[in-house]
Protein backbone atom coordinates (compact mmCIF):
# COMPACT_ATOMS: atom_id res chain seq x y z
CA UNK A 1 0.00 0.00 0.00
CA UNK A 2 2.83 2.32 0.84
CA UNK A 3 3.89 2.56 -2.77
CA UNK A 4 0.75 4.49 -3.68
CA UNK A 5 0.82 6.91 -0.76
CA UNK A 6 -2.86 6.49 0.06
CA UNK A 7 -5.41 3.92 1.20
CA UNK A 8 -8.82 2.98 -0.12
CA UNK A 9 -11.30 5.03 1.88
CA UNK A 10 -14.01 3.33 3.87
CA UNK A 11 -17.48 4.61 3.02
CA UNK A 12 -19.40 6.51 5.66
CA UNK A 13 -22.75 5.20 4.50
CA UNK A 14 -24.79 3.28 7.02
CA UNK A 15 -25.10 -0.14 5.44
CA UNK A 16 -28.42 -1.33 6.78
CA UNK A 17 -28.11 -4.66 4.99
CA UNK A 18 -24.97 -5.75 6.79
CA UNK A 19 -25.12 -3.91 10.13
CA UNK A 20 -25.78 -5.94 13.27
CA UNK A 21 -28.99 -4.85 14.94
CA UNK A 22 -29.03 -7.45 17.70
CA UNK A 23 -28.43 -4.79 20.35
CA UNK A 24 -31.51 -2.88 19.16
CA UNK A 25 -33.57 -6.09 19.14
CA UNK A 26 -32.47 -6.87 22.68
CA UNK A 27 -33.71 -3.47 23.83
CA UNK A 28 -36.96 -3.57 21.81
CA UNK A 29 -37.90 -6.81 23.48
CA UNK A 30 -37.34 -5.56 27.00
CA UNK A 31 -38.28 -1.90 26.62
CA UNK A 32 -40.98 -1.54 23.93
CA UNK A 33 -41.24 2.20 24.56
CA UNK A 34 -37.93 2.42 22.65
CA UNK A 35 -39.99 2.10 19.46
CA UNK A 36 -42.02 5.18 20.23
CA UNK A 37 -39.15 7.66 19.99
CA UNK A 38 -39.79 10.37 17.38
CA UNK A 39 -36.31 11.86 17.58
CA UNK A 40 -37.44 15.20 18.94
CA UNK A 41 -34.23 15.69 20.89
CA UNK A 42 -35.84 16.76 24.14
CA UNK A 43 -33.68 14.24 26.00
CA UNK A 44 -30.46 15.58 24.51
CA UNK A 45 -31.40 19.19 25.23
CA UNK A 46 -31.86 18.55 28.90
CA UNK A 47 -28.88 16.21 29.28
CA UNK A 48 -26.08 17.43 31.54
CA UNK A 49 -23.51 15.28 29.77
CA UNK A 50 -24.71 16.50 26.40
CA UNK A 51 -24.18 20.10 27.37
CA UNK A 52 -20.62 19.45 28.47
CA UNK A 53 -19.37 16.73 26.13
CA UNK A 54 -20.09 15.41 22.67
CA UNK A 55 -22.92 13.13 23.70
CA UNK A 56 -26.45 13.00 22.32
CA UNK A 57 -28.96 10.55 23.68
CA UNK A 58 -31.18 11.18 20.65
CA UNK A 59 -28.35 10.27 18.30
CA UNK A 60 -27.49 7.29 20.46
CA UNK A 61 -31.00 5.92 19.93
CA UNK A 62 -30.64 6.23 16.18
CA UNK A 63 -27.21 4.62 16.16
CA UNK A 64 -28.51 1.66 18.18
CA UNK A 65 -31.45 1.26 15.80
CA UNK A 66 -29.19 1.36 12.75
CA UNK A 67 -26.67 -1.05 14.23
CA UNK A 68 -23.74 1.39 14.33
CA UNK A 69 -22.60 -0.44 17.42
CA UNK A 70 -18.97 0.67 17.63
CA UNK A 71 -20.11 4.24 17.93
CA UNK A 72 -22.78 3.26 20.44
CA UNK A 73 -20.24 1.59 22.73
CA UNK A 74 -18.06 4.66 22.67
CA UNK A 75 -20.95 6.91 23.52
CA UNK A 76 -22.69 4.78 26.16
CA UNK A 77 -19.99 5.32 28.75
CA UNK A 78 -20.76 9.01 28.95
CA UNK A 79 -24.31 8.71 30.33
CA UNK A 80 -24.48 9.31 34.12
CA UNK A 81 -27.94 7.70 34.37
CA UNK A 82 -29.44 10.72 36.15
CA UNK A 83 -32.81 10.17 34.46
CA UNK A 84 -33.61 13.80 33.62
CA UNK A 85 -34.27 12.73 30.04
CA UNK A 86 -37.27 10.64 31.10
CA UNK A 87 -38.92 13.70 32.59
CA UNK A 88 -38.99 15.62 29.31
CA UNK A 89 -39.84 12.83 26.84
CA UNK A 90 -43.20 13.58 25.13
CA UNK A 91 -43.60 9.98 24.01
CA UNK A 92 -43.03 8.39 27.41
CA UNK A 93 -39.88 6.58 26.34
CA UNK A 94 -37.98 5.04 29.26
CA UNK A 95 -34.76 6.58 28.04
CA UNK A 96 -32.71 5.69 31.09
CA UNK A 97 -33.56 2.03 30.81
CA UNK A 98 -32.45 2.05 27.18
CA UNK A 99 -28.94 3.00 28.22
CA UNK A 100 -28.95 0.33 30.93
CA UNK A 101 -30.23 -2.32 28.52
CA UNK A 102 -27.74 -1.34 25.82
CA UNK A 103 -24.87 -1.85 28.28
CA UNK A 104 -26.37 -5.18 29.28
CA UNK A 105 -26.73 -6.27 25.67
CA UNK A 106 -23.11 -5.51 24.89
CA UNK A 107 -21.95 -7.35 28.01
CA UNK A 108 -23.95 -10.43 27.09
CA UNK A 109 -22.96 -10.44 23.45
CA UNK A 110 -19.95 -12.51 22.54
CA UNK A 111 -19.31 -10.25 19.56
CA UNK A 112 -18.52 -7.23 21.71
CA UNK A 113 -15.83 -7.36 24.35
CA UNK A 114 -16.66 -4.89 27.11
Amino acid sequence: MEKFGFFISKGRQINYDSNDRSIAEYIYEREPSFRRCIECGGCSATCTTGSMTKFSLRELHILIKRGENDKVMESLKKCMLCGKCILVCPRGVNTRNIVVLAKQAFQKSAAYAI
Binding site: G5, F6, F7, I8
Partner: protein, 353 residues
Protein backbone atom coordinates in the same frame (compact mmCIF):
# COMPACT_ATOMS: atom_id res chain seq x y z
CA UNK B 1 -36.68 -4.25 -15.39
CA UNK B 2 -39.28 -2.95 -17.77
CA UNK B 3 -37.66 -1.63 -20.90
CA UNK B 4 -40.76 0.30 -22.00
CA UNK B 5 -40.48 2.48 -18.90
CA UNK B 6 -37.01 3.53 -19.97
CA UNK B 7 -38.12 4.04 -23.55
CA UNK B 8 -40.81 6.45 -22.35
CA UNK B 9 -38.16 8.50 -20.56
CA UNK B 10 -35.79 8.33 -23.51
CA UNK B 11 -38.46 9.67 -25.81
CA UNK B 12 -38.78 12.70 -23.55
CA UNK B 13 -35.11 13.52 -23.65
CA UNK B 14 -34.24 13.89 -27.29
CA UNK B 15 -31.88 16.64 -28.25
CA UNK B 16 -31.02 18.22 -31.53
CA UNK B 17 -27.69 17.01 -32.88
CA UNK B 18 -26.24 18.61 -36.02
CA UNK B 19 -25.57 16.16 -38.86
CA UNK B 20 -22.49 17.70 -40.50
CA UNK B 21 -19.94 20.54 -40.46
CA UNK B 22 -18.50 20.11 -37.02
CA UNK B 23 -16.02 22.33 -35.20
CA UNK B 24 -14.26 19.69 -33.12
CA UNK B 25 -12.32 20.58 -29.99
CA UNK B 26 -10.10 18.12 -28.22
CA UNK B 27 -9.78 17.40 -24.53
CA UNK B 28 -6.72 18.44 -22.50
CA UNK B 29 -6.23 15.09 -20.91
CA UNK B 30 -7.60 12.47 -23.26
CA UNK B 31 -4.58 12.71 -25.54
CA UNK B 32 -2.49 11.42 -22.67
CA UNK B 33 -5.01 8.99 -21.22
CA UNK B 34 -6.36 7.28 -24.33
CA UNK B 35 -4.62 8.97 -27.25
CA UNK B 36 -6.23 6.77 -29.91
CA UNK B 37 -9.78 7.81 -29.13
CA UNK B 38 -9.91 11.29 -30.63
CA UNK B 39 -8.00 10.05 -33.65
CA UNK B 40 -10.57 7.29 -34.03
CA UNK B 41 -13.36 9.87 -33.84
CA UNK B 42 -11.82 11.85 -36.70
CA UNK B 43 -11.28 8.70 -38.79
CA UNK B 44 -14.88 7.58 -38.25
CA UNK B 45 -16.34 10.99 -39.02
CA UNK B 46 -14.12 11.85 -41.96
CA UNK B 47 -13.28 8.49 -43.58
CA UNK B 48 -16.27 6.34 -42.74
CA UNK B 49 -19.14 8.83 -42.53
CA UNK B 50 -17.63 11.45 -44.90
CA UNK B 51 -18.40 14.37 -42.64
CA UNK B 52 -16.76 17.77 -42.52
CA UNK B 53 -14.87 18.11 -39.24
CA UNK B 54 -12.67 21.09 -38.56
CA UNK B 55 -9.96 21.35 -35.92
CA UNK B 56 -8.40 24.69 -35.11
CA UNK B 57 -4.68 24.74 -34.24
CA UNK B 58 -5.17 27.66 -31.84
CA UNK B 59 -7.72 25.87 -29.68
CA UNK B 60 -6.63 25.66 -26.03
CA UNK B 61 -7.98 24.12 -22.87
CA UNK B 62 -11.50 25.29 -22.06
CA UNK B 63 -10.12 25.74 -18.52
CA UNK B 64 -12.89 23.51 -17.15
CA UNK B 65 -10.31 21.34 -15.46
CA UNK B 66 -9.09 24.42 -13.59
CA UNK B 67 -12.62 25.61 -12.90
CA UNK B 68 -13.58 22.27 -11.40
CA UNK B 69 -10.35 22.13 -9.40
CA UNK B 70 -11.12 25.52 -7.83
CA UNK B 71 -8.18 27.34 -9.41
CA UNK B 72 -9.89 29.15 -12.32
CA UNK B 73 -12.71 31.61 -11.56
CA UNK B 74 -15.82 31.23 -13.67
CA UNK B 75 -15.39 34.66 -15.31
CA UNK B 76 -11.97 33.59 -16.55
CA UNK B 77 -13.38 30.29 -17.78
CA UNK B 78 -16.08 32.21 -19.64
CA UNK B 79 -13.58 34.41 -21.42
CA UNK B 80 -11.47 31.38 -22.42
CA UNK B 81 -14.61 29.69 -23.72
CA UNK B 82 -15.60 32.88 -25.57
CA UNK B 83 -12.26 32.71 -27.34
CA UNK B 84 -12.93 29.11 -28.45
CA UNK B 85 -16.29 30.23 -29.81
CA UNK B 86 -14.50 33.05 -31.62
CA UNK B 87 -12.22 30.50 -33.30
CA UNK B 88 -15.31 28.58 -34.43
CA UNK B 89 -16.94 31.75 -35.72
CA UNK B 90 -13.82 32.81 -37.59
CA UNK B 91 -13.57 29.36 -39.20
CA UNK B 92 -17.16 29.70 -40.40
CA UNK B 93 -18.67 26.91 -38.30
CA UNK B 94 -21.67 26.88 -35.96
CA UNK B 95 -21.81 23.25 -34.75
CA UNK B 96 -19.50 22.96 -31.76
CA UNK B 97 -18.39 19.47 -30.72
CA UNK B 98 -16.25 19.05 -27.62
CA UNK B 99 -14.48 15.76 -27.03
CA UNK B 100 -14.52 16.26 -23.27
CA UNK B 101 -17.56 15.83 -21.04
CA UNK B 102 -16.48 18.48 -18.60
CA UNK B 103 -15.95 20.91 -21.48
CA UNK B 104 -19.44 20.02 -22.70
CA UNK B 105 -20.81 20.66 -19.21
CA UNK B 106 -18.92 23.92 -18.91
CA UNK B 107 -20.04 25.15 -22.34
CA UNK B 108 -23.63 24.26 -21.52
CA UNK B 109 -23.40 25.97 -18.14
CA UNK B 110 -21.88 29.12 -19.64
CA UNK B 111 -24.37 29.39 -22.52
CA UNK B 112 -27.19 28.88 -20.03
CA UNK B 113 -25.71 31.51 -17.69
CA UNK B 114 -25.43 34.02 -20.52
CA UNK B 115 -29.03 33.28 -21.46
CA UNK B 116 -30.21 34.23 -17.99
CA UNK B 117 -27.68 37.00 -17.38
CA UNK B 118 -27.09 38.81 -20.68
CA UNK B 119 -25.05 41.46 -18.88
CA UNK B 120 -22.46 38.79 -18.04
CA UNK B 121 -22.26 37.77 -21.69
CA UNK B 122 -21.85 41.43 -22.66
CA UNK B 123 -18.99 41.85 -20.20
CA UNK B 124 -17.27 38.71 -21.51
CA UNK B 125 -17.63 39.97 -25.11
CA UNK B 126 -16.05 43.23 -24.07
CA UNK B 127 -13.14 41.61 -22.22
CA UNK B 128 -12.43 39.21 -25.08
CA UNK B 129 -12.44 42.07 -27.55
CA UNK B 130 -10.08 44.12 -25.38
CA UNK B 131 -7.70 41.23 -24.82
CA UNK B 132 -7.66 39.60 -28.26
CA UNK B 133 -9.66 41.73 -30.67
CA UNK B 134 -11.88 38.69 -31.34
CA UNK B 135 -15.65 38.47 -31.57
CA UNK B 136 -17.83 35.37 -31.35
CA UNK B 137 -21.19 33.81 -32.01
CA UNK B 138 -22.74 31.33 -29.58
CA UNK B 139 -22.80 27.88 -31.27
CA UNK B 140 -26.02 27.10 -33.10
CA UNK B 141 -25.66 23.49 -32.01
CA UNK B 142 -23.66 22.17 -29.09
CA UNK B 143 -23.29 18.40 -28.94
CA UNK B 144 -20.81 16.19 -27.17
CA UNK B 145 -18.75 13.96 -29.46
CA UNK B 146 -20.57 10.93 -28.01
CA UNK B 147 -23.85 12.52 -29.15
CA UNK B 148 -22.45 12.55 -32.69
CA UNK B 149 -21.49 8.87 -32.58
CA UNK B 150 -24.91 8.15 -31.03
CA UNK B 151 -26.56 9.99 -33.92
CA UNK B 152 -24.70 7.83 -36.44
CA UNK B 153 -24.86 4.58 -34.46
CA UNK B 154 -27.06 2.96 -37.12
CA UNK B 155 -24.76 4.02 -39.97
CA UNK B 156 -21.84 2.57 -38.00
CA UNK B 157 -23.79 -0.65 -37.39
CA UNK B 158 -24.49 -0.89 -41.13
CA UNK B 159 -20.77 -0.76 -41.88
CA UNK B 160 -19.75 -2.91 -38.92
CA UNK B 161 -17.30 -5.78 -39.29
CA UNK B 162 -17.91 -6.99 -35.74
CA UNK B 163 -20.78 -7.02 -33.30
CA UNK B 164 -20.73 -6.83 -29.52
CA UNK B 165 -21.47 -10.53 -29.41
CA UNK B 166 -19.52 -13.36 -27.83
CA UNK B 167 -18.50 -15.38 -30.85
CA UNK B 168 -18.23 -18.58 -28.85
CA UNK B 169 -21.66 -18.46 -27.26
CA UNK B 170 -23.52 -16.24 -29.72
CA UNK B 171 -24.78 -14.26 -26.73
CA UNK B 172 -24.72 -10.44 -26.62
CA UNK B 173 -21.83 -9.08 -24.58
CA UNK B 174 -22.86 -7.64 -21.25
CA UNK B 175 -21.86 -4.02 -21.33
CA UNK B 176 -21.77 -1.48 -18.51
CA UNK B 177 -22.30 2.06 -19.77
CA UNK B 178 -20.80 4.77 -17.62
CA UNK B 179 -21.74 8.38 -18.31
CA UNK B 180 -19.56 11.29 -17.23
CA UNK B 181 -21.21 13.32 -14.46
CA UNK B 182 -20.98 16.59 -16.40
CA UNK B 183 -22.86 15.14 -19.38
CA UNK B 184 -26.42 15.45 -18.07
CA UNK B 185 -26.48 15.68 -14.29
CA UNK B 186 -26.24 19.49 -14.43
CA UNK B 187 -28.70 19.88 -17.33
CA UNK B 188 -30.73 16.69 -17.85
CA UNK B 189 -32.41 18.10 -20.97
CA UNK B 190 -29.02 18.48 -22.70
CA UNK B 191 -28.23 14.79 -22.59
CA UNK B 192 -29.67 12.07 -24.82
CA UNK B 193 -31.99 10.14 -22.50
CA UNK B 194 -31.68 12.62 -19.61
CA UNK B 195 -29.74 12.25 -16.39
CA UNK B 196 -31.30 9.25 -14.67
CA UNK B 197 -31.32 6.80 -17.59
CA UNK B 198 -28.93 8.26 -20.17
CA UNK B 199 -29.34 6.64 -23.55
CA UNK B 200 -26.35 8.04 -25.38
CA UNK B 201 -24.11 5.01 -24.80
CA UNK B 202 -26.92 2.52 -24.21
CA UNK B 203 -28.17 3.35 -27.71
CA UNK B 204 -24.79 2.50 -29.23
CA UNK B 205 -24.52 -0.73 -27.25
CA UNK B 206 -27.98 -1.89 -28.33
CA UNK B 207 -27.37 -0.96 -31.95
CA UNK B 208 -24.05 -2.75 -32.07
CA UNK B 209 -25.41 -5.98 -30.62
CA UNK B 210 -24.55 -5.76 -26.92
CA UNK B 211 -26.73 -5.95 -23.84
CA UNK B 212 -26.81 -3.00 -21.45
CA UNK B 213 -26.25 -3.76 -17.76
CA UNK B 214 -28.17 -1.62 -15.28
CA UNK B 215 -26.59 -2.18 -11.87
CA UNK B 216 -27.33 -0.41 -8.57
CA UNK B 217 -24.38 1.99 -8.58
CA UNK B 218 -24.78 2.90 -12.24
CA UNK B 219 -25.29 6.60 -11.46
CA UNK B 220 -22.32 6.80 -9.09
CA UNK B 221 -19.35 8.96 -10.09
CA UNK B 222 -16.23 7.09 -11.26
CA UNK B 223 -14.31 8.91 -8.54
CA UNK B 224 -12.25 11.30 -10.66
CA UNK B 225 -13.97 14.42 -9.37
CA UNK B 226 -10.85 16.51 -10.10
CA UNK B 227 -9.73 17.57 -6.64
CA UNK B 228 -10.24 14.05 -5.31
CA UNK B 229 -7.65 12.77 -7.66
CA UNK B 230 -5.39 15.78 -8.08
CA UNK B 231 -4.60 15.92 -4.37
CA UNK B 232 -2.79 12.73 -3.46
CA UNK B 233 -4.23 12.63 0.06
CA UNK B 234 -7.72 12.45 -1.46
CA UNK B 235 -7.05 9.56 -3.81
CA UNK B 236 -8.35 7.02 -1.33
CA UNK B 237 -11.73 8.64 -1.82
CA UNK B 238 -11.34 8.53 -5.59
CA UNK B 239 -10.42 4.84 -5.73
CA UNK B 240 -13.18 4.00 -3.22
CA UNK B 241 -15.76 5.42 -5.64
CA UNK B 242 -14.57 3.18 -8.45
CA UNK B 243 -14.46 0.24 -6.06
CA UNK B 244 -18.07 0.87 -5.04
CA UNK B 245 -19.04 0.63 -8.70
CA UNK B 246 -17.03 -2.53 -9.36
CA UNK B 247 -18.51 -4.26 -6.32
CA UNK B 248 -21.98 -3.30 -7.50
CA UNK B 249 -21.55 -4.41 -11.14
CA UNK B 250 -19.65 -7.61 -10.32
CA UNK B 251 -22.70 -9.90 -9.88
CA UNK B 252 -23.82 -9.01 -13.42
CA UNK B 253 -20.51 -10.38 -14.82
CA UNK B 254 -19.94 -7.55 -17.28
CA UNK B 255 -17.72 -8.23 -20.28
CA UNK B 256 -16.73 -4.62 -20.71
CA UNK B 257 -17.30 -1.04 -19.59
CA UNK B 258 -17.89 1.77 -22.05
CA UNK B 259 -17.59 5.43 -21.09
CA UNK B 260 -17.97 8.89 -22.63
CA UNK B 261 -15.82 11.05 -20.37
CA UNK B 262 -12.06 11.67 -20.32
CA UNK B 263 -11.65 10.84 -16.63
CA UNK B 264 -13.97 7.87 -16.23
CA UNK B 265 -12.18 5.33 -18.45
CA UNK B 266 -8.88 6.45 -16.98
CA UNK B 267 -9.97 5.81 -13.42
CA UNK B 268 -12.15 2.78 -14.02
CA UNK B 269 -9.18 1.30 -15.90
CA UNK B 270 -6.24 2.30 -13.67
CA UNK B 271 -7.97 1.83 -10.34
CA UNK B 272 -8.62 -1.81 -11.17
CA UNK B 273 -4.87 -2.25 -11.19
CA UNK B 274 -4.47 -0.28 -7.93
CA UNK B 275 -7.24 -2.17 -6.13
CA UNK B 276 -5.70 -5.44 -7.21
CA UNK B 277 -2.28 -4.32 -5.95
CA UNK B 278 -3.72 -3.14 -2.64
CA UNK B 279 -6.32 -5.78 -1.91
CA UNK B 280 -5.77 -8.52 -4.45
CA UNK B 281 -9.26 -8.19 -5.90
CA UNK B 282 -10.17 -8.46 -9.56
CA UNK B 283 -13.67 -7.86 -10.78
CA UNK B 284 -13.80 -9.58 -14.17
CA UNK B 285 -14.09 -13.26 -15.03
CA UNK B 286 -11.27 -15.83 -14.79
CA UNK B 287 -9.17 -13.61 -12.51
CA UNK B 288 -9.06 -10.87 -15.11
CA UNK B 289 -10.09 -7.25 -14.92
CA UNK B 290 -13.07 -5.74 -16.72
CA UNK B 291 -11.77 -4.04 -19.87
CA UNK B 292 -12.73 -0.35 -20.05
CA UNK B 293 -13.23 1.49 -23.34
CA UNK B 294 -14.08 4.87 -24.70
CA UNK B 295 -17.05 4.92 -27.08
CA UNK B 296 -14.73 5.87 -29.98
CA UNK B 297 -12.61 2.80 -29.28
CA UNK B 298 -15.69 0.60 -29.30
CA UNK B 299 -16.99 2.22 -32.49
CA UNK B 300 -13.54 1.69 -34.01
CA UNK B 301 -13.46 -1.98 -32.98
CA UNK B 302 -16.93 -2.53 -34.39
CA UNK B 303 -15.80 -0.94 -37.67
CA UNK B 304 -12.77 -3.23 -37.76
CA UNK B 305 -9.99 -0.75 -36.93
CA UNK B 306 -6.72 -2.25 -35.76
CA UNK B 307 -6.78 -2.45 -31.92
CA UNK B 308 -3.29 -0.98 -31.63
CA UNK B 309 -4.23 1.92 -33.94
CA UNK B 310 -7.03 2.58 -31.46
CA UNK B 311 -4.46 2.81 -28.67
CA UNK B 312 -5.70 -0.20 -26.72
CA UNK B 313 -2.11 -0.89 -25.68
CA UNK B 314 -2.44 2.17 -23.43
CA UNK B 315 -5.01 0.44 -21.23
CA UNK B 316 -3.77 -0.88 -17.92
CA UNK B 317 -6.54 -3.47 -17.69
CA UNK B 318 -5.89 -5.79 -20.62
CA UNK B 319 -8.36 -5.57 -23.51
CA UNK B 320 -7.31 -8.83 -25.16
CA UNK B 321 -9.91 -10.98 -23.36
CA UNK B 322 -12.63 -8.86 -24.92
CA UNK B 323 -11.00 -8.86 -28.37
CA UNK B 324 -10.91 -12.65 -28.14
CA UNK B 325 -14.57 -12.84 -27.17
CA UNK B 326 -15.61 -10.73 -30.15
CA UNK B 327 -13.17 -12.51 -32.42
CA UNK B 328 -11.09 -9.50 -33.36
CA UNK B 329 -7.65 -10.46 -34.62
CA UNK B 330 -4.61 -8.64 -33.34
CA UNK B 331 -0.90 -9.11 -33.38
CA UNK B 332 0.46 -9.53 -29.84
CA UNK B 333 4.02 -8.72 -30.92
CA UNK B 334 2.97 -5.34 -32.34
CA UNK B 335 1.24 -4.25 -29.14
CA UNK B 336 4.07 -2.00 -28.02
CA UNK B 337 5.87 -1.74 -31.34
CA UNK B 338 6.38 1.95 -31.99
CA UNK B 339 8.18 1.41 -35.28
CA UNK B 340 4.99 0.46 -37.13
CA UNK B 341 3.83 3.23 -39.41
CA UNK B 342 2.55 6.28 -37.60
CA UNK B 343 -1.16 6.91 -37.77
CA UNK B 344 -0.81 10.23 -39.51
CA UNK B 345 1.09 8.54 -42.32
CA UNK B 346 -1.49 5.79 -42.55
CA UNK B 347 -4.48 8.10 -42.44
CA UNK B 348 -4.30 11.37 -44.31
CA UNK B 349 -7.72 12.22 -42.87
CA UNK B 350 -6.06 13.10 -39.59
CA UNK B 351 -4.39 16.15 -41.06
CA UNK B 352 -6.60 19.17 -40.80
CA UNK B 353 -8.09 20.97 -43.79
Amino acid sequence: MKQEGKQAIWSEYQKEIADDKYFYVRSCIRQNFFPGSEVAFLRILRDVLKKDVYEHPCHTTCSGIGYHSDVVPVETAMTVVARQFALMTEAGYTNYVPSCITSFGLYTEIIETWHHFPEVEEKVRQKLKEATGREFEIPGNLAHASDIIYKFRKEIAAKAKFKLINKNTGEPLKVVDHIGCHYAKMFPSKGVGGAEYPYVLAGMIEEWGGQVIDYPERRHCCGFGFRQYLVQANRGFSVACSKEKFESMKPFKPDMIITNCPGCPMFLDRWQYVINEMEGTRYGQNGEGIPVFTYEEVAGLVLGFDPWDLGLQMHQTDCEPLLDKIGIEYSPEDKYNTTVNSLSEKHSSLINV
